[in-house]
Symmetry: C2
Subunit: 608 residues, 2 copies
């Protein structure tokens, strides 16, 4: 039943050698890995205006120089990540770069930060997309949480089906969004060039603005930089590309950078020229679309694709999180289970954990995750800064031919990223202070996990090639509850293993019962020693454990092992299980975890 459902939801299992077919070409990779970055265009320009309006709408012209700053940062980041792709062709992005060049702890800060960030990406973008949809259909607004969770489950299942399949489906809406924005920008520029838009709508560039401080400008710049979240995703996901993976990844990254630059500057320019003011009810992109087209088909087309891309931005998290987790798990900083490939060859544990964590966040914030956006932005720019600094160190240390321009690119990127990070920390401290608490905790946990794995490795390692000292013999303890076929079966098995050291143990709740049982037993199994224990408190486990302790103590002195043989009913139908007390399960768990005894379970399959 469950396996049929699983097959229906995620498809037939794939053989390991089919992995090559699960690689992405550039068109699909661009779609699924850039959805996060491209979707930022839908809110990045708005973020700049929201800061500037706190001074006055006359300050809106500053959005143009600020956008130029963002474009410079974008260029530095793209060029820099291109260098990272070739330098670290196995992926891992900021984590691997920082770890290799700056040391383990900076690497863990970058990795932990991104890990949490991808969870935030999924929650924030799905919540935002859901909000965009339910804004159009207000009666659905009360079901926001449910709808958002349904989307997360849908995207999780798509990703469990495998990366190529999800890419085939998700590529359409991403390209539709790009096309929609291109048309919007194209038509908007045409209107401006043909004089269809009044130049009175905006303040000319260079108009002096009273009360504008450098702090406000930097804050606006930092807010606008939130449009750059997601550019690191490709560097994490290199192993998902078709061969030659690094080359394809680099080309995809450049294409994404170009698209992002055109769309971002187009939207900023139109918003400035149209003199659009941010508004809690209607987004900036929506206002531009209304100005450009009026409320016709194109307007709704842009609204619809924007909502979709916001939801699909989550998919970038699904592509990057599992691969980052693999890198951390390989280094033993997170549980080993993240290394396992699922039925469809994706790292399914990573995908599932990401889905569950996002659903928990959506539930905790009731799908109102706007307050998480600054946290999410700082969680990206911190790894940006670390990875660029890592590259700086790398060039300084290795000094390969022509390293100077590369060093300059990374230094520029590192400095701007650092400024953005600090601006977020300073200007939005009330929303991002928690990162100062949870990042150290995460890094501490990473170290604890690594320490445990190292300790286990030490304990498991064979220190000598010679086999262990052989065991002298075994004592077999068989708890018996009566004289039934099940008990006969267990005793019979015990006899086949050893003839001498079998002890049947009977726990009685009533004194009268004991003698009677012992007499019957003598007749039934004269060659098996019976020990009767009395239980005052109607517990089987306590007297049995005490008895096992005594035997185990004696046995270990003689290098004997103690095995407890427990019969277990296997009912024919699942629901029958609640009809049996299954004390065998309790006894087994208790003895196995608390005592040094071996537990043998002899199944007794009921036939009806």
């Amino acid at each position: 039943m469950i396996s049929v459902l699983k097959r229906f939801l995620i498809g037939r299992p794939l053989k390991s050698h089919e992995l090559g077919e699960q690689k992405l070409n550039k068109t699909k990779a661009l779609a699924i890995l850039s959805s996060d970055a491209l979707s930022s265009v839908a809110y990045g320009p708005e973020q700049i205006l929201i800061v500037l309006i706190t001074v006055s709408s006359a300050a809106f012209w500053y959005s143009i120089p600020i956008a130029v700053g963002v474009l410079i940062l974008l260029t530095a980041l793209i060029l820099s990540y291109r260098q990272i792709i070739f330098a670290y062709p196995h992926g891992g992005g900021a984590y691997v770069v920082s770890k290799s060049n700056l040391g383990v702890n900076p690497g863990l800060v970058a990795g932990g930060s991104l890990l949490v960030d991808y969870i935030l990406t999924v929650s924030v973008s799905v919540s935002a997309g859901t909000d965009a949809i339910t804004s159009a259909f207000p009666t659905l607004h009360q079901y926001n949480v449910g709808i958002a969770i349904a989307f997360v489950i849908f995207i999780t299942l798509l990703n469990l089906r495998g990366v190529t399949e999800s890419a085939s489906i998700l590529a359409y809406p991403v390209y539709l969004f790009v096309v929609a924005l291109f048309i919007l920008i194209g038509v908007g520029l045409y209107h401006i060039v043909t004089g269809g838009v009044s130049p009175q709508l905006h303040t000319p560039l260079g108009t002096p603005v009273a009360g504008l401080s450098l702090f406000i400008l930097l804050k606006a710049f930092a807010s606008g930089s939130s449009a750059l979240t997601g550019v690191e995703a490709i560097s994490n996901a290199i192993p998902n590309f078709k061969d030659p993976a690094p080359k394809n990844a680099a080309k995809t990254l450049m294409a994404m950078g170009a698209l992002l630059a055109v769309l971002f500057s187009g939207i900023v320019f139109l918003a400035y020229y149209y003199g659009i003011s941010p508004n809690a009810e209607v987004t900036v992109v929506s206002q531009i679309a209304e100005e450009t087209f009026g409320r016709n088909f194109m307007y709704f087309f842009i609204q619809g694709t924007t909502a979709l891309i916001l939801i699909l931005a989550a998919n970038t998290g699904y592509s990057a999180f599992p691969l980052l987790a693999v890198n951390l798990a390989k280094d033993k900083f997170i549980p080993r289970m993240f290394l396992i490939r699922g039925d469809r060859l994706g790292y399914s544990n990573g995908i599932i954990i990401l889905g569950i964590a996002s659903i928990i966040l959506i539930l905790a914030f009731k799908a109102e995750t706007e307050s998480l956006i600054p946290l999410y932005a700082i969680g990206v720019f911190l790894p940006f800064t670390l990875s660029q600094s890592g590259m700086m160190v790398k060039w300084l240390r290795e000094k390969p031919q022509g390293w100077v321009p590369k060093f300059i690119i990374n230094t520029t990127g590192a400095l701007i990223s650092l400024v953005v990070t600090l601006m977020f920390l300073i200007t939005k401290f009330s929303q991002v202070w928690s990162i100062l608490i949870f990042l150290p905790i995460i890094v501490y946990l990473f170290h604890r996990i690594r320490k445990h794995y190292d300790a286990v490795g030490d304990q498991l390692r064979l220190t000598t090639c010679e086999p262990l000292m052989p065991i002298e013999g075994n004592v077999l303890i068989v708890p018996v509850a009566g004289m039934t076929n099940v008990v006969a079966n267990s005793i019979n098995y015990a006899k086949s293993l050893s003839q001498d050291q079998i002890i049947a143990v009977y726990v009685s709740f009533e004194r009268d019962d004991e003698k009677n049982f012992e007499e019957k037993w003598k007749k039934w199994q004269p060659d098996v020693r019976l020990v009767t224990l009395h239980s005052h408190y109607r517990s089987i486990i306590n007297p049995l454990t005490k008895f096992v302790d005594i035997i185990e103590h004696k046995a270990s002195e003689a290098n004997y092992r103690v095995t407890v043989i427990i019969p277990q009913f296997i009912p024919k139908k699942g629901w029958h299980n609640i009809l049996h007390n299954q004390s065998s399960l309790l006894i087994r768990a208790y003895l196995l975890f608390r005592r040094n005894v071996i537990i043998t379970t002899v199944p007794y399959h009921l036939k009806k």
Copy 2:
């Protein structure tokens, strides 16, 4: 940790021979077993008036003859249950009486009906009591569900502590309520006798009322009879009484009947004489109290004790449900776990299941359980009818000395109960139809469970006194994941059991790896045969299961048993478990439930 918490919540475990100290004297028994019946006084009279007002307030005088009818029914029920107590001194009430005299199915209908009814009792009375409290403090109203659940948990814990302890605590509010109502009735009657109440307030007895049909009168009678729910509880709980249990139970029953009769007729009379009309906002008892005392201390005293008794009515369910469940479990109609006495000698599984089921109902109905009251009433009167009919059959069959008056009492009770049952079915069909569906389902489930237990019994019974044919030998399969101390430990154990038939199985995911492993193995364990299986789908379970199948097939032909020896990490700290994939657990569960092999778990206790 858990055991400390448990001890704090429910107290130290009791030895089995301390059971005698857990018996109730009459005063305490009256308090905890009659709280349900006595609490009905708080709403029973009101139910009559709610039906009569549908005609006109002139019809209120009919509440007097209807109350006389209810008193006759009460007398018949009390006398009849008194006879049941002496005839069936081991308790079980309606279930045992119906089963013994009418047959298994009527018994199961009565038992199933009461079982569900006690769950309804708890949910309905706790919800009603919570409502009474939050009506006084309207800001708490939004927390109704939480408060109701907290009360259920509190009463569950009290009952887990043991019946005497809960009785000691719960007796006070019950007697306070009785005293409060006695004062109310006394003062009210004094006012009437001294002429302090205008006789104009009520219509004189015998006033003709237009539009009053027999149907309405019967409906009013049925509604008023809901005050009699709970009178059967004592007959179910005889084993909780101090010796001589039946005699003490009978006396307690008579005392409860007398109290109930006095309080019920007092409230009905005062309501009639004061001309009180039912009101959605204020209860009838509250109106009488206000008329009698004004809004002084006594008024709030009566309100408070009424709210408390409504909540404590739930406790009757806790006393009767576990004992009824014991009777059904003894006859193998419900799971055996209901027979187990907990640490404090109560039937704790019954208590816990009742608590959980009630919480689920409260959650499902969001603590608005009024619509369940008719269902709850019919669920009591159906067993009433069946048990009285059962007694009729008993007297007719056995004809002991002086059986005729006894037969008349039971016949009267049976007839009136039947009428009430039918009235509920007819007049409130829209609220009680579900009983016609779920009762047959419950009875069907009872039979299914019984059938399973019988089948298991047949399979377990030793049909011969001779031991089974001895097992010829054992094949030991050891799945190995590498060459580590854990594997060495398991192989060592296998060797100590048998020298010949050990097979180590290695599941490889990559072809290159296999040869390498086999060579190393030969050097390390030259005397243990290694079989390497290749897994295309990265699953260990599938290839291992196929291999086990082949071995098991061969082994069973030669009367050999197959044992799979699985090593299991036991980490030092609980949280370490998530760091290990624990595939051993999955393998164990799969093989144990699906295949006829014995599973031996060799623990490997990690030291750090």
